[in-house]
Symmetry: none
Subunit: 248 residues, 2 copies
């Protein structure tokens, strides 16, 4: 996970964006993943104004910087990344698959660098000239039949990866709850067995095998303490009814 | 990286989506990452029609299935994942951070299961009732100051992670068993409820709450098919005895 100081050293740069909704979506993804610095190159004024004044526009849009050229926008950056479909061109720069990007960016930010990610216009993407300012290109692993992503979604995916990708190795798969101890499971198994017997669930000859299976099953279920109390309550009730009815 | 066959066993389920642009964006993200199966629950007809007929709408929108309830939409799924902001509620289910999700989903698909990811409406997200059909919840690691993501972007981030995340770290070889589908769990829940009623386990006023808790519990238990058949057998027997005795 990137620290706030590291996030503060990453710029998102939109080159000639058109659709105000997309500009807003990029800003929202930035806010979602904790990035604040948006730059816009060659903004089309009416659309840019509309995006900034939209209801619910993230605050960072108001603080966005405007530039005339990519060169100016990335002048203080040490590591510039380009995005876009790579299907039809042979890139001049090294290509980094997005799933491998986070450690690369983190290394750069950790050593005090400043990174930028460039997104081109919805229609044409980044030009060859824009790309010439990039140290590397990001390849989002999309389906070859539908490689081209929506701008807001592409930004979301890239920022998600950079923000959280490096925490992945450390992330634990399954969060766990407090466990039920073995003695409790044994008491539960006994109660269920009594209910089975009262319900004539299986012949006595099967009892040993059922007991074994039940013990294994109860352990595999990984019951939380509350689950275990409920199952106790239900089977006590069932047992009570079964034996009570028998007595009448 | 998921194989085409694995991708074919994942459903994206939109519950009460409103904005046609968002529906289109979800479909586009699915096409980008190679997923084809979209289901919609409780679609608002005019918006749904608009989304499907939009210029450039991904083909998979035309093949989307419509359902009246979440239960029907996920009936043949073995692993159902919920999404949404967790800030304001304490979840009943285990929470999986998105960066740790891919190996979990891949394991499920590898053992022949069918997975679903549920996205709620833009305004309200998933209801508590919707969530009770989920085995686990996905937590997207967003900034606490701006936790709520746009629907199309949330879908893009989740599908990106599932499609490519597992290529990052080799999935663990945890011993697993085949899974039980959601419709079977619903039938099992109904049977257990009948036994509860026959045993006078709880007052009628608690029935709704118990039903909810039971649904959540059955999903958490991760029953193997054999377990499920046994529990069916036991509760059928219990129910039979309880009602038979009552008749005498």
């Amino acid at each position: 996970m990137l620290t706030p100081i590291q996030r503060d050293r990453l710029d998102v740069v939109l080159v000639s964006p058109r659709n105000p909704l997309n500009i807003g979506a990029v800003a929202r993804a930035m806010a979602n993943f904790g990035f604040e610095h948006l730059s816009v190159v060659g903004a089309y004024e009416p659309h840019w104004r509309e995006a900034r004044s939209a209801v619910g526009a993230p605050e960072l849009l108001a603080g966005a910087r405007e530039y005339a050229t990519v060169a100016e926008a990335v002048a203080n950056c040490t590591f510039v990344l380009g995005t876009g479909t790579l299907t039809y061109r042979k890139p001049d720069q090294p290509v980094i698959p997005l799933p491998a990007l986070a450690p690369v960016v983190e290394r750069e930010l950790t050593r005090g660098g400043r990174a930028a990610i460039l997104f081109g216009s919805e229609k044409r993407g980044l030009s060859r000239d824009d790309l010439s300012y990039c140290h590397a290109l990001i390849e989002i692993p999309t389906d070859p039949r539908q490689p081209s992503m929506n701008l807001g979604q592409a930004a979301a995916v890239c920022l998600y990866e950079i923000a959280s990708g490096s925490s992945r190795a450390a992330a634990e798969a399954a969060p766990t709850h407090a466990a039920v101890d073995s003695g409790t499971l044994d008491r539960l198994a006994k109660l269920i067995e009594q209910a089975m017997t009262a319900a004539h669930y299986s012949p006595a000859s099967m009892r040993e095998a059922n007991r074994h299976d039940l013990r294994v099953l109860l352990r595999r279920l990984n019951l939380a303490p509350l689950d275990s109390r409920r199952v106790f309550g239900l089977f006590r009730r069932i047992l009570h009814r079964l034996t009570e009815n028998k007595r009448t």
